[in-house]
Symmetry: C2
Subunit: 144 residues, 2 copies
Amino acid sequence: MEEKEMSVMAHPVEAIIATADAAIANEDFDALMDIYCEDALLVIRPGVNVTGKAQIRRAFEAIAAHFNHSVRVSQAGIMVLEASDTALVLAKTVVSTSNVPDVTRNATYVFRKDSSGCWHCAIDNSYGHELLSAEEAPGVLPEE
Amino acid sequence: MEEKEMSVMAHPVEAIIATADAAIANEDFDALMDIYCEDALLVIRPGVNVTGKAQIRRAFEAIAAHFNHSVRVSQAGIMVLEASDTALVLAKTVVSTSNVPDVTRNATYVFRKDSSGCWHCAIDNSYGHELLSAEEAPGVLPEE
């Protein structure tokens, strides 16, 4: 069991997520976009998705500006399930900004492994199951 | 918004999940296995996964026997996010058996679209984020 947990901790997708968290803090959007598939989907807030690197970059730029360049993202817990060149990430994602209290979300991310063995994020849904009850749990991120 | 919800309801993966739910009730394991990728991953209970159709079939057979052939699965809510031939399903999955009270889980499923346009389940994790706090939320499904 201990070995299994150590094995899970070593999944390469976890290092990519750490890189993404640092890129968001540094507002290094070139590095951030390297993490996504070309046609990736990002849930900006419940009911509002964007698709493709150009839209995702604009969304992150708008979010950074809206929160006075204070956005920090970290993972308080993470598990990766992999099958069929596909990885499902279950994470306790903590979003911090100077404007609003910290929020911890049960985030769900999906990564795909390409033919060269590289992983990229296909679906970035930090809201997890909140999408099923969006009227009860409005997002903290801004309108575009 | 109404149109969007109708569009989400029409995703072909939802019909596949309904077929899977019926196949579990009918113990039609041939039909059930048609739904999975060859190397799919099934979370039997937190900390115990199986991989590949042969192991998944044996797990469902063991579960059916353990619960006296009374297992019923239904979806009380469902949302599909699709990108890059990959679909993330967020569901409120209700598991009913004659032995124990009904359980509703925040389930996470990942489907892959193959080159012929057919969707198959790559990752079947009915426990969702319970995997991150398994000691607090033991599974109801049996050991193999």
